[in-house]
Amino acid sequence: MARAVSTRRKIGFTIAAWAVGLAIFFPILWTILTSFKTEAEAISSPPSFLFFDWTLENYTTVQERSNYFRHFWNSVVISLGSTLLGLLIAIPAAWSMAFVPGKRTKDVLMWMLSTKMLPPVGVLIPIYLIFRDVGLLDTKTGLVIVLTLINLPIIVWMLYTYFKEIPGEILEAARMDGASLRNEIIHVLTPMAVPGIASTLLLNVILAWNEAFWTLNLTAAKSAPLTAFIASYSSPEGLFYAKLSAASTMAIAPILILGWFSQKQLVRGLTFGAVK
């Protein structure tokens, strides 16, 4: 009897999990399907789900109109660059907070997190002026710097949480064996925290890839990433939903594929230390 209830609950949870998963994925699926419709079919009512004349016309138009690969390359450089620079700064910072905490460490962590609570538009003009004066407007370097700074609190927090799970005794033993601080971080701490660092890296790449406020406001023609590519297909006067969907699909495809292939790593890292 108990087994029957347990099986029934398991089936129920499985169905519920699939329903939630599909509900979350549905907007993406709808965007992908719309990208294969004509503009007239994209707005038809009632909408057709699968039975319509599939066309690649929107992808052809988008390819002809825009330099997709330039935007793609800018996205790759900006998201990877800001993530690697962020990790370089955050690993030592998280190490010090996790293993040699001071009286104010918790306050510092909270203060770092509080910077995420400020609406970005509140600092747009000062940052824009600084970028203008130092010649960083519409440069990939400028975006790498600003995205690093924006995502740094999250990286530090995530790494701090992972590092806290690593027994301090192991690092002490390394020190007893004569390891320098640099060796301790690179050869002892980092290999043990690989799942956490990997998931932080992946999550930060995704966040930087999707970041739209700064990438739209600080770029023009040269360093605009895929967010600007999508924005160029949105129109308040004219129905271009199918083309917009094609552009969106092309923009999210790389990160979707990356997320798909690294989901095990991502989940492992995100649940690292969740159950003791």
């Binding site: 707005i43 203008r132 160029s232 949105s234 004219g238």
Partner: protein
């Protein structure tokens, strides 16, 4: 002089020559709409004529573009050499000294050929600060087949009373046909633009001559009550979420008896590739109430040059090309006369080939002519602009007021409460901005 010094000097001279020979690059910020995209496709004609000028395009959604170019021009960021701006920005930016005056365009440009109301909207103190790429007003688009079936005969210049009768006669909710579709989505460029234009024809105005908000006037009460009645009785369900694109989709699918909106929509609804009702669309002027003002607006997407650009001459050459008569002929040659950017030049409306190709041409011209941005209301006002008030604070106030209008349409508050809230918030903002002491 040593050989090394000579070599260095030679190299420097070569570098200088190379730099001089390099093409000048113009960065152009623009919106995503059919006419602008067409211009990008035809831009090779310009670069062939001017091999020393290269063009870089930054295409953005309207609101993003507005935020982006405003930030850049206000901080003198210098990222753009040509900006696509509207009739709202031009007078404000020109007064700030942010735009280059375009009074020295070549004679063959024929600046006198620009439609007077459009030229007026882009000028400050007699100087032109942007050149129009395409212009639009608003008008009534209606289904001729539904009108005939309902026994309604549309005049060229209907009144609001006629619109109410026609909407009632054409509504068939069982078959999902709604007598009238109008903007309801909140935003200064969405419902606020529509309702402001409608209210102008009822004798309402945003401010009196001392900048005192006027939402508590009887004219506003009547105009807004009529708007709500039309939307609630004969409009599409969920109208509070419908903007230009949503109504365009409804009209193209045959679900609107009438649609009052931008004249630029005429080419969309009569295009058989996208519209199921392309062969049964008629046009009429925006309605009035016999007070001398029609409920139509005026807008022109225009090309302006930010002051301080280091490519001013090249930018002038480009904007003159993009808005010239020759460009219109180039579009006609490649894409047909119906696709020529409308609403900017008198000569276009004297061209029989264009009039033949565009059934909506005459009504578009009449609508634009009927709009007067310098005298938009029945009673005098201290501002210019028909569907907007050309002051920097308007974007924020207009959107907040639009949210009140949308709340009333959604049934969250009454018409009186929405107008009172609009009055209070406008008063507060105008006091904070120093217009009212």
């Amino acid at each position: 002089m040593t050989q090394t010094t000579r070599a260095l000097l030679g190299a420097t001279a070569l570098c200088g020559l190379a730099a001089a020979a390099q093409a000048e690059t113009l960065t152009i910020a623009t919106v995503n709409n059919g006419d602008m995209i067409r211009m990008q496709g035809l831009a090779s004609d310009f670069t062939d004529q001017h091999p020393d000028i290269e063009l870089e395009w930054v295409t953005l959604e309207e609101n993003v573009l507005r935020q982006r170019v405003t930030t850049d021009i206000a901080t003198r960021g210098g990222q753009y050499d040509v900006m696509t701006i509207g009739t709202y920005e031009v007078p404000i930016w020109a007064q700030q000294g942010w735009l280059v005056a375009l009074d020295d365009l070549p004679e063959e440009y024929d600046v006198d050929d620009l439609l007077p109301s459009i030229r007026e909207g882009l000028s400050v103190d007699g100087s032109l600060y942007a050149v129009p790429f395409y212009g639009e007003s608003s008008m009534v688009m209606y289904r001729t087949d539904l009108a005939e079936a309902a026994g309604v005969e549309f005049p060229e210049a209907p009144t609001w009373d006629f619109i109410k009768e026609a909407a009632a006669a054409m509504t068939d909710k069982e078959n999902e046909v709604y007598g009238i579709c109008m903007r309801g989505k909140a935003g200064w460029g969405e419902n606020t633009a529509f309702i402001t234009s409608m209210a102008n024809s009822y004798g309402a105005r945003w401010f009196d001559e001392n900048w005192m908000p006027q939402f508590d006037s009887e004219a506003w009460q009547t105009a807004f009550s009529d708007y709500l009645m039309l939307q609630n009785e004969y409009g599409a369900p969920g109208a509070a979420n419908n903007g230009f694109n949503e109504n365009l989709a409804l009209f193209q699918q045959g679900k609107c008896g009438m649609w009052i909106d931008a004249t630029v929509a005429a080419s969309f609804v009569t295009n058989p590739d996208d519209s199921t009702v392309a062969d049964s669309v008629g046009f009429a002027l925006a309605p009035d109430n016999g007070l001398g003002k029609r409920g139509n607006w005026l807008w022109a997407w225009s090309l302006g040059i930010p002051a301080g650009t280091d490519a001013e001459d090249a930018a002038k050459t480009f904007v003159a090309w993009a808005t010239s008569k020759e460009y219109a002929e180039l579009v006609a040659e490649n894409e047909g006369w119906a696709n020529v950017p409308p609403g900017t030049r008198t000569s276009l409306y004297e061209n029989p080939a264009y009039l033949d190709a565009a059934s909506f041409a005459e009504m578009t011209l009449e609508s634009i002519k009927a709009a007067d941005p310098k005298n938009p209301t029945v009673d005098p006002v201290p501002y210019t602009g028909i569907q907007f008030v050309a002051i920097p604070e308007f974007q924020g106030i207009g959107t907040a007021v639009g949210q009140q209008f949308a709340a009333a349409l959604a049934g969250q508050k009454s018409a009186e409460e929405a107008l009172q809230a609009a009055q209070d918030l406008t008063m507060q903002e105008m006091q904070a901005a120093g217009y009212i002491q």
